[in-house]
């Protein structure tokens, strides 16, 4: 099967999957016996019959459930995710407003995790059992076990509040003029505006949340790399490579690492999807106005259109990332395509 046909088949399969997700989301919405009206018009206005009736009509709450579902799916197909009860804005606009902050943090965290995690993992794998290996292992275990909201608070307290060596919460220095919005990613917008002071400001605010959020992923990447290297280094082809007099560096980079990369692709893909789907705790601790915070607020206020829209977006992100991982896999290891 050619690569193109493989991708096409996978894409077709995602359609029923997404359809199923909308159905599940919608069923949950209708199983929870809560009146969304309070959230729509507020507690006090509930005593005002005109406002109540107007809201019921406006939000279609008087129509049968199946009809609401059909409308919902039809609207999605038209690219309309509905209007948030809470913000009164189209959910798509809300997601567009909040996604860039999350993307910025997710990309930065992933880069941090990969750039540090893979080399450290390789070193730990090569010097398996050494003091260095054990130190790295311990730090990664610590990193992976401490909850980010706790480490986030501690880091803010120590590095911002007490020492003042990093910026505080938020995405941008409070007293600095923001660059005009272009992509919503403050780093990109700063570059587009040619404002390097703003770029410095945006990057500096990424440091702490990246270390906290990326630290978790870093631990994961590091452990997987280390385990893969340890395993590959024991294989016969490595012994062969060594016995033909290849330099150790080439043995590791050209031979062992290449094979060790395969499981890493899956891990990194899933980790990235996880980072994108909203790092709720980290975003909360760092006042990061991203997707995670938006969805938490939506959930707390029973803002169903927003919850449904956000969940759908996350589902799509996972589907796309999984697709990319599988495609990459089939490129790296053609056996997968035939399997």
């Amino acid at each position: 099967m050619s690569l193109v046909r493989y991708i096409a088949r996978r894409l077709i399969l995602t359609a029923p999957m997404l359809f199923g997700i909308t159905l599940v989301l919608f069923l949950i919405y209708n199983l929870v016996q809560v009146d969304p009206l309070v959230m729509i018009i507020g507690e006090r206005a509930m005593d005002n019959p005109q406002l109540v009736e107007a809201a019921i009509r406006k939000w279609g709450l008087d129509r049968p459930v199946w009809e609401q579902y059909v409308t919902y799916v039809t609207n999605i197909l038209r690219g309309d995710l509905g209007t948030s009860f809470l913000t009164r804005r189209p959910v798509l606009d809300d997601l567009r407003t909040h996604l860039p902050a999350t993307v910025e943090l997710a990309v930065s965290s992933l880069l941090f995790a990969v750039i540090l995690g893979i080399p450290l993992g390789i070193l730990a794998g090569i010097y398996f059992g050494s003091l260095f290996d054990r130190a790295v292992w311990f730090i990664s275990l610590l990193n992976g076990s401490l909850p980010p909201f706790w480490t986030g608070l501690i880091f803010l307290f120590v590095f911002y509040y007490s020492l003042g060596i990093t910026p505080g919460p938020g995405r941008f220095p409070p007293r600095m003029e923001r660059p005009p919005t272009f992509s919503g990613l403050l780093t990109v917008d700063s570059i587009v505006a040619g404002n390097f002071e703003a770029l410095g400001g945006a990057l500096s605010h990424l440091i702490l949340p990246t270390v906290i959020l990326g630290g978790f992923t870093l631990a994961l990447v590091l452990r997987v790399t280390r385990a893969a290297i340890v395993e590959e280094m024991r294989r016969e082809y490595v012994r062969t490579a060594r016995s033909k007099g290849l330099a150790e560096r080439l043995v590791v980079v050209r031979h062992a690492l290449r094979n060790a990369l395969l499981p890493l692709v899956t891990i990194i893909g899933l980790a990235f999807a996880g980072l994108l789907s909203g790092a709720v705790m980290t975003e909360t601790v760092f006042d990061w106005a991203g997707l995670g915070q938006y969805l938490v607020r939506a959930a707390a206020s029973l803002d169903y259109p927003a919850i449904q829209g956000g969940t759908l977006l996350i589902a799509v992100i996972y589907v796309i990332v999984n697709l990319c991982v599988d495609v990459l896999y089939s490129v790296l290891d053609p056996r997968v395509r035939h399997g």
Binding site: V34, D35, V38, M39, I41, G42, E43, R44, A45, M46, D47, N48, Q50, L51, A54, L86, T87, R88, D94, T97, H98, I115, L116, P119, L123, L153, L156, F157, Y160, Y161, G164, I165, T166, P167, G168, P169, G170, R171, P173, P174, R175, M176, E177, E197, G200, G201, L203, S204, I207, R249, T284, V285, D287, A289, Q293, Y294, R297, A300, S301, L302
Partner: protein
């Protein structure tokens, strides 16, 4: 391997360099850190939350004002004077001839008519400021005079006029952005998106940007008709908790942390760079006990309710807030004329036990106490509920706490299905009817939710609503408070205080119980 280590070194140096990047101190704008996540829109005709009050009070003006130093006095705003007709139905406002919008254009009677008619026809929640008060019509008498006609006399109307929802917008600007005051404005008005990001008012500041969940930016109105203010601008910066707001203020990244809790306030006390500003709000947290037979519970007996009121350790409840709270006698907060704190309950366990025995429950009884989420004066509902539970246990009343999400709680409360609740009440405007209209009637307000039916209280509430003489009104209100204390249906637990942490160089900051803040007089 050496190359790897070199890579790490470069990376570490880069991060170090970025961290040290100089941050330009921007002018003398005021940075205010706070929750501010409730904003849905900044269109004065549509917004009905809390943060928008701060923004609207800074960027728009109303015909009349109530200043924080005297809540019972209505002072001129855009209107230099107003008069009420003999029958109490017509209000005539005369605009100040100097009043100008930020654009430099004069504020005219037509702008007032347009703004109020648009508010009414947008049919959003804030339109209730007009509809709830029997608003009938508004007409332009001349360039500087508007006449408002009501369906029935409403002594509270002048204080309603101070609500930011009744701000005056510049008609020409709003119309240019797609705004309309037509009868179908709820379908056709298209100015919301623009008003979310800009302002069209006459206030001391101009709105320049709102980034949802992130920040709201206002700059000084250089054309302000009372003379430009000292601050170059105000930025409201969203923080998720008081601890992070305090950090920002302590490091000088913000100038004010708005509405922090008692623990945070204590930390700020120990910092020489910071000072506290304590503001008395009109927000009440109350215990509501149904007097209805519907629930088949002992609390339908007034003696049982009075026993509960005598059993609560009020000082202990206030101690939970770190002492940052007050307590009125009934659902009429301190600061409102007629609210007499001497009438309030104090803890008296012997009396509580005697009342229970008299009612036939010498060994107490069991029931549920329903609460939602959220917190008042920094104390979460469940903590207050646990305190009440412990207090009542001392007289033998076993309370089981049922906590739901706020939405579920309110749904059940509104369905009149909860016999005993702890909930909160915050005012939208400054008139006694903001409380008497909601805690008195069998068929409306919060009293309806508790199935309260006390004809005497309802009758007093009607008299209060109709009384125009301030002294006679205060006397009626004191009588109203007494009647409420006797009925023991709504028992105030706390009147919240608002704690703001300021950097010590911030001067002239005033807390306002409705608008929360006055930025016009702030200097730093």
């Amino acid at each position: 391997m050496r190359r790897l280590f070199a890579l790490f070194l470069i990376l570490a140096l880069t991060i170090g360099f970025i961290a040290q990047a100089p941050v330009r101190a921007q002018s003398n704008a005021l940075i205010v850190a706070g929750r501010f996540v409730d904003v849905i829109t900044l269109d004065p005709g549509r917004a009905f939350e809390t943060t928008n009050l701060i923004v609207h009070h800074a960027t728009y003006e109303t015909l009349l004002n109530i200043n924080a130093d005297d809540l019972s006095k209505i002072v001129p705003g855009l209107a230099e004077s107003y008069s009420i007709s003999e029958d109490g139905l017509e209000y005539t406002f005369v605009l100040n001839p100097n009043a100008k919008f930020a654009s430099g254009n004069p504020v005219t009677a037509e702008d007032v008519r347009f703004s109020w008619t648009r508010l009414l026809n947008l049919k959003g929640n804030p339109s209730s400021y007009l509809t709830d008060f029997g608003f009938k019509s508004i007409e332009v008498v001349d360039e500087r005079t508007v006449k408002v006609t009501l369906e029935a006399p409403q002594p509270a109307f002048a204080s309603v006029v101070t609500a930011p929802a009744l701000s005056v917008l510049e008609k020409a600007v709003v119309v240019a952005q797609g705004g309309t005051d037509a009868a179908d404005a709820d379908q056709t008005d298209a100015a919301k998106d623009w008003l979310d990001q800009n302002s069209a008012g006459s206030g001391p500041f101009i709105l320049t940007r709102w980034s949802p969940n992130s920040e709201i930016v206002m700059v000084r109105n250089e054309n302000y008709w009372r003379g430009p203010v000292a601050l170059e601008g105000v930025t409201l910066r969203v923080t998720n908790d008081a601890a992070s707001a305090l950090q920002l203020v302590a490091r000088g990244d913000a100038d004010i942390a708005l509405g922090v809790d008692a623990d945070t306030a204590e930390q700020a006390r120990n910092n020489a760079d910071l000072k506290l500003n304590i503001g008395q709000t009109l927000n009440l947290l109350y215990l509501g006990i149904s007097s209805s037979d519907y629930f088949q519970l002992p609390i339908s007996d007034v003696r049982v309710r009075q026993a509960i009121a005598n059993a609560i350790d009020y000082d202990g409840v206030i101690a939970l807030t770190g002492g940052f709270a007050e307590r009125p006698a009934a659902m009429l907060p301190l600061g409102i004329a007629g609210s007499d704190p001497s009438l309030r309950y104090t803890r008296n366990l012997d009396k509580a036990k005697a009342l229970l025995a008299e009612a036939g429950y010498p060994n107490g009884f069991s029931m549920k106490l329903h609460i939602g989420g959220g917190s008042t004066a920094g104390v979460p509902r469940e903590v207050i509920a646990a305190k009440v539970q412990a207090d009542l246990a001392e007289v033998g009343i076993q309370v089981e706490i049922d906590q739901q999400t706020t939405a579920n709680f309110l749904t059940a409360f509104r369905a009149q299905e909860l016999p005993m609740v702890i909930s909160a009440w915050t005012p939208d405007y400054l008139d006694a009817t903001m409380w008497t209209a909601f805690f008195s009637k069998a068929d409306s307000g919060v009293s309806r939710r508790l199935r309260m039916d006390e004809p005497k209280i309802a009758e007093l509430a009607d008299k209060i609503a109709a009384e125009r003489d301030p002294e006679a009104r205060a006397a009626l209100l004191t009588e109203y408070v007494k009647a409420h204390v006797d009925a023991a249906i709504f028992i105030p637990l706390l009147q919240e205080q608002y704690i703001d942490v300021l950097r010590s160089n911030v001067e002239g900051y005033v807390f306002h119980p409705v608008y929360l803040t006055e930025f016009a007089g702030v200097r730093k």
